[in-house]
């Protein structure tokens, strides 16, 4: 608790740098990552992150300086070169994009590791810390680092704001953009550049290996909650910043805990939660919908069975036992009990010791199902010319999904028929 208060109060300057730094990094990568995600370039981000390593190593070898500006410059050049090579290979050879990405990733990364090893063995006194680019060095963010992250973050946001509609079109339908005469090559260059920029800053927090997660996961999570590009960018940015906050807090309370991996873990948790629980696209919502469908089918079948039994006895006032229902249709006994309970709760049927009958409110519902079934059978036999003995199984399913609008259209097209193909009356 004390720790939490200390963290929130931001009184410790080191906490301030680390937290603000990772939040800005997370936000930048997440916002730019939305476009990589929508352009189906998720793996390109991974390749660029790995390809940046030799750029950093080479920049250090040439200048013997660890100034963040120098290393950032090296990172940008290498990232750009990697992106350019991936596109060139795909365009000019028969290799597919996934192969080109794999090639560039491993070649550049291998080169980077080689360079890092040779730097470490060269005995240069100030090389310590370079290998932190592998797994990130969030805990060691300095005020001058922070300035860079904030500057990069603001530049990225400004560019995205300026080019929002062009980037949208470029991600959705690039051919159309070039037909309109937009400067597609230059726009693509800007978009690629800010991606490389976001990655080059991002690897300082989470490292080369985990960078793709910082780029793509927030977009995936945000996509579960919205279908508007504007809101997608905002939510993804917030998720990215929030994960930076969580990562910093955890590594602050438990100092042996690394910040980068915790950022990625918290992002993954957000993404998994979003994929499971989002109201429209979520898995839980889907399972719930399917359950609802099953329940609708079950209860409608019970209503229909009661109606049929009453129809056979020419009275809807008689009571029918469970056994009679089971004889009429092969219900699963447990399912039947469940369905009867649901219907009783809705007051659509009346229960006595001798059995059940449709209530005044349940009868029109039952009539509706039977009407839809028989109407659909009419449609199948009149319009699709199916034989009378082939239409029943089809109508058993379709009766549950016909909407009032479609019912209206059916009635209109069939001109309110009185009897179905089996000469049973259609109840109105």
């Amino acid at each position: 608790m004390e720790k939490l208060i200390e963290f929130i109060s931001f009184s410790n300057p080191n906490v301030r740098f680390v937290t603000l730094g990772t939040m800005f990094i997370g936000m930048s990568a997440a916002t730019v990552g939305c476009f990589a995600f929508l352009r189906k370039r998720a793996l390109v981000g991974d390749a660029i992150a790995h390809a940046i390593l030799p750029g950093i190593a080479l920049a250090f070898m040439l200048t013997q300086s660890k100034s963040p500006w120098v290393l950032m410059g090296g990172a940008l050049v290498a990232g750009w070169l990697a992106m350019f090579l991936i596109e060139a290979i795909t365009k000019n050879s028969k290799l597919k994009p996934d192969t080109a990405i794999g090639l560039i990733l491993s070649v550049f990364f291998g080169l980077g590791i080689l360079m890092l090893t040779s730097i470490q063995h060269s005995g240069a006194g100030n090389q310590a810390g370079l290998d932190q680019f592998l797994f990130g060095k969030a805990a060691a963010i300095t005020p001058s680092d922070l300035k860079i992250y904030i500057a990069v973050g603001l530049v990225l946001l400004a560019l995205i704001f300026l080019f929002f509609k062009e980037f949208k079109l470029l991600s959705f339908n690039p051919d159309f953009a070039s037909i309109l005469g937009l400067p597609v090559k230059r726009l693509r260059f800007v978009l690629s550049s800010i991606t490389v920029l976001a990655i080059a800053t991002g690897i300082q927090a989470v490292g080369v290996v985990l960078m793709a997660a910082l780029l793509i996961t927030p977009a995936v999570a945000a996509r579960a909650w919205t279908s508007s590009l504007k809101i997608l960018l905002i939510i993804a940015g917030l998720f990215g910043a929030f994960s930076g906050l969580v990562g910093s807090y955890i590594s602050f309370t438990a100092p042996q805990m690394p910040t980068g991996p915790w950022i990625v873990m918290s992002l993954s948790a957000i993404a998994i939660f979003s994929i499971l629980f989002s109201p429209q696209r979520g898995l839980v919502a889907k399972i719930f919908r399917q359950r609802q469908n099953r329940q609708k089918i079950l209860t409608e079948n019970i209503l229909k069975a009661l109606y049929h039994l009453g129809e056979n006895q020419k009275s809807q006032q008689n009571y029918f036992s469970k056994k009679q229902l089971l004889n009429h249709r092969k219900f699963d006994a447990a399912e039947l009990n469940k369905g009867l309970k649901i219907l009783a709760k809705k007051l659509w049927l009346i229960e006595r010791e001798t059995g059940y009958k449709l209530s005044q409110t349940g009868l029109p519902e039952a009539q509706r199902i039977v009407r839809l079934h028989r109407l659909w059978e009419m449609y199948l036999s009149e319009r699709m010319r199916l034989k009378a003995d082939h239409i029943h199984p089809n109508a058993e399913t379709i009766e549950h999904i016909i909407s009032p609008e479609i019912e209206h259209q059916l009635l209109h097209e069939l001109d309110y028929p009185e009897l179905d193909p089996h000469q049973k009356p259609i109840p109105y």
Binding site: F172, D175, L180
Partner: protein
């Protein structure tokens, strides 16, 4: 059969194009009249889409050029509109129907600017014309195939062009969409617009179009439909490939051979007389 109109909307001059080094179009040369509904018709793999992509500058031909209203594409870009095949984009993209239609108003001139009020009015009118105004705020992922096609059509209408190029707009659409496209086409024609449509169905082609280009990797015929739809020409277009021609094409792809020598590229030109 190759009928030459005066003041053509499109002139394709000696166009040779390849896909992955394999020639898809051989020296295609024709001109299309203004203010007509034109169908580009031919069997699968006859190069229809490649021809359209070359007209729109999405591909660079190996030789020859396309002039629109007697000028190069760059000079008349804002007068030309394009409706790509529906499946060329991911409809799960986070955008609303109106978002997509508004793309038709993006211009070099409004880079980093918001769309104007006038732009928005044009988009609303375009959506109304295709009968989708009630779905303007709907997510595009929730549309049926026919509705997707109409969204693309509305985007193209919003461009306010004089020449419309459409790639297979009738594929996989419902009856309502087909009707609405046909009604639109009639209206566009009455306003003097030129509409060029890639179409693979022979049966409806005669019904829909005034002018027909028969294509089978080479030009078979171009002219008024009554003159082009003869058993002889149809047989020529649909009766199979020219075997020697396809063998040459395969050989060129295999050997990485250039389709044209430098001196014969004819990348620019003013066409064959009868101009403006």
């Amino acid at each position: 059969m190759d009928i030459r109109p005066d003041c053509p909307a499109i002139e394709v001059h000696n166009l040779t194009a390849s896909y992955n080094r394999k020639p898809v179009l051989w020296d295609v040369d024709f001109a299309l009249p203004q203010g007509k509904l034109v169908g580009i018709v031919g069997p699968n793999g006859s190069g229809k889409t490649t021809l359209l992509r070359n007209m729109m500058g999405l591909m660079k031909p190996d030789s020859g050029y396309v002039n629109l209203f007697g000028k190069s594409l760059d000079e008349v870009r804002e007068k030309v509109s394009y409706v790509p095949q529906r499946e060329t984009v991911d409809w799960d993209f986070p955008a609303s129907v109106m978002d997509v239609v508004e793309m038709g108003r993006y211009r070099k001139g409004n880079l980093f600017k918001r769309l104007s009020k006038q732009d928005k009015i044009l988009c609303t009118e375009a959506l109304e014309k295709v009968g989708l105004l009630d779905l303007a705020k709907r997510q595009i992922s929730q549309l049926s195939g026919g509705q997707q096609q109409r969204v693309f059509l509305a985007r193209s209408l919003a461009q306010q062009a004089d020449l419309y190029l459409m790639d297979e707009p009738f594929v996989g659409v419902d009856a309502a969409t087909e009707e609405s496209i046909l009604a639109l086409l009639t209206q566009m024609k009455s306003e003097g617009k030129t509409v060029v449509i890639v179409h693979h169905d022979l049966q409806t082609a005669y019904e829909y179009f005034d002018w027909i280009v028969l294509l089978n990797t080479r030009l078979v015929a171009s002219g008024e439909k009554e003159k082009v739809f003869t058993p002889q020409l149809l047989q020529e277009a649909y009766g199979g490939r020219l075997t020697v021609l396809s063998r040459i094409g395969d050989l060129m792809a295999k050997q990485d051979f250039p389709l044209r020598e430098k001196e014969f590229k004819e990348a620019k030109g003013t066409g064959d007389g009868k101009t403006y």
